[in-house]
């Protein structure tokens, strides 16, 4: 049954069919929902995606491995370092390349900075969708500092093209570590406490988010959720700790898990709080990484033309939005045979479709914001 049939069937019935069109003034990107509502209460919100489909997977089949890295940035432009990292991890596994320690630490520093930046937007835009405009701009103010740092590091503020197969492209410039330390001193716990005082504990926000779209642990696992969405439902699963990669085995961090902070386990408020807690864990990781940063090369000796032997590999990182995995099938040529990108927002979108039944219209907004989806990740 295609879309037209759905529309015709719904129009004929008792329910209202509302179109939350591809353009709506929120930051989640170009997604469309066909909402079947009975007054205020939604019976189903059918997502229509594909407005941002650029065929990145098809492009990969005609692109040499080293030249494909900028494309991976655009898979999730709010957390682009993770995409770079996952792709180069997949290729390095195929090549059997060992990445120097310094490069691993630089990768982790870049990743965790990006995680903070991405979560700032996630919680800020969630507050904004609920009506509090100020915390979003405070988050953007902090994010500007991170953007300046990444600009120092690799020249980009949103998409980076920082990592290379075998390492990273540039070493830390002078003054970078000092500036990063300054940012961390101000961010954790200063900014996070202020943010919680302003909006995290706000009674109205709690009332809007608690008990909304509760996703139980079993359901979350079944729906393929990953990342903060899964952890908020009580499942303690983090790729950094459970399927470790890069230099995470040397670093100490906690994995925040939802526990029904103000509502039930796995509701929207849990997802909100888990992201805020993850930001402080990222700051902790950054402090350790700065301290333990070794000297050495930043790039391994990789061949000029990268032609991995035939085989398959799966490179996954714990992105800000969940498990970001690149399933790479190589046939020995210069370009991949198949590159499949598995993103966290894809599963989250399915979860939104399933959990939208029974929500009110205002709750759908909260659910959408708390799942932290970005359209380019869904469509690639």
């Amino acid at each position: 049954m295609n879309l037209q049939d759905i529309i015709v069937e719904a129009e004929g019935g008792q329910q209202m069919l509302l179109n939350m069109g591809p353009q709506h003034p929120s930051t989640h990107g170009v997604i469309r929902f066909l909402v079947k509502a009975d007054g205020e209460v939604i019976s189903e919100a059918i997502p229509v995606v594909g407005y941002l489909h650029r065929g990145i997977e098809k492009i990969a089949e005609s692109m040499p491995y080293a030249g494909f890295i900028p494309f991976t940035d655009r898979v999730d432009y709010l957390a682009a370092m993770f995409c770079n990292h996952a792709f180069v991890t997949a290729v390095e596994k195929l090549l059997g390349l060992e990445v120097p320690r310094r490069a691993e630490y630089l990768r982790v520093i870049a990743d965790e900075m990006n995680r903070i930046a991405s979560h700032l937007i996630a919680v800020g835009s969630m507050a904004m969708d609920i009506g509090a405009y100020t915390p979003f701009l405070h988050g953007i103010r902090e994010r500007e500092i991170i953007n300046d740092l990444t600009e120092m590091l690799c020249g980009g503020r949103l998409t980076y093209n920082y990592m290379r197969i075998g390492g990273v492209s540039r070493d830390l410039p002078d003054g970078f570590l000092k500036r990063l330390k300054g940012f961390l001193d101000r961010f954790d716990p200063g900014f996070i406490n202020e943010f919680n005082r302003l909006i995290g504990g706000n009674e109205i926000l709690v009332r809007r988010c608690a008990h909304v779209a509760t996703i139980g642990a079993d359901e979350a696992m079944d729906m393929g959720l990953a990342g903060p969405n899964l952890r908020a439902s009580g499942v303690s699963w983090d790729l950094r700790r459970d399927m470790p990669y890069s230099c995470y085995p040397d670093l100490e961090f906690d994995v925040p898990v939802g526990r029904g902070f103000r509502g039930s386990l796995g509701d929207s408020y849990d997802r909100f709080m888990v992201r805020i807690l993850e930001m402080s864990q990222s700051a902790r990781l950054l402090r350790q990484a700065i301290e333990k940063l070794p000297d050495g090369d930043i790039q391994a000796k990789a061949p000029r033309k990268i032609k991995p032997p035939a085989g398959e590999s799966y490179g996954a990182v714990e992105s800000a939005r969940g498990e970001l995995g690149f399933y790479l099938v190589s046939d020995g040529g210069e370009t991949p045979l198949r590159l499949k990108i598995r993103t966290g927002s894809f599963s989250a979108m399915w979860a939104i479709h399933r959990k939208s039944a029974g929500c009110m219209l205002a709750d759908l907004v909260v659910l959408l914001a708390s799942a932290d989806i970005v359209a380019p990740e869904i469509d690639r």
Binding site: M1, N2, L3, Q4, V49, G50, H53, G55, E57, K58, E61, K93, L94, G96, M221, D222, M223, G224, A226, V235, W237, D242, M243, P308, P309, A310, G311, E312, S313, Y314, A316, E323, G325, Y327, V329, S330, L337, R338, K340, R342, F346, S347, M349, W350, R354, D379, R380
Partner: protein, 164 residues
Amino acid sequence: MNGEAIYEQLRDRFPDKVSETRGQGPLKCVYVKPEAIEEVLIALRDQETLGFRHLSFISGIDLKEAIEVAYGLISYSLKVLILLKVTLDHENPTVRTVSHIFSAANWHERETFDLFGVKFEGHPDLRRLLLPEDWKGHPLRKDYKEEPFYHEMPTTREPLLGRS
């Protein structure tokens, strides 16, 4: 426990439905007979010692002579990813759906149908996901040729170089 041991267990349990471990790269896979994929996945999910409850991805692969569908599963308790594959006919690839086993498969199978043309029997809502509903062809196939026009919009552009 790593992937190898799990594949051994699967072969012991389903002797003629699961092939030997293949693959020269770091990620090894096993090939499962298409009609047996459901029971293998149910076994992987429900057995206590295995507990493969996370369907990470379902991906199609277009080899010229066949189309493969790869299922990537992660176990929360064993902390490992395994890869199961089925080999399907190139012209008319069909396999049973697994969306009643892992509900995440719903969208992954829709995407595989959209991009490769693999039909999943029993899927509750097999529509195109990423491309418009009236798009012709399945883009990620190797023999895909784009239509020159889509609703009177040309799909190719005149090259900018070479114009005076």
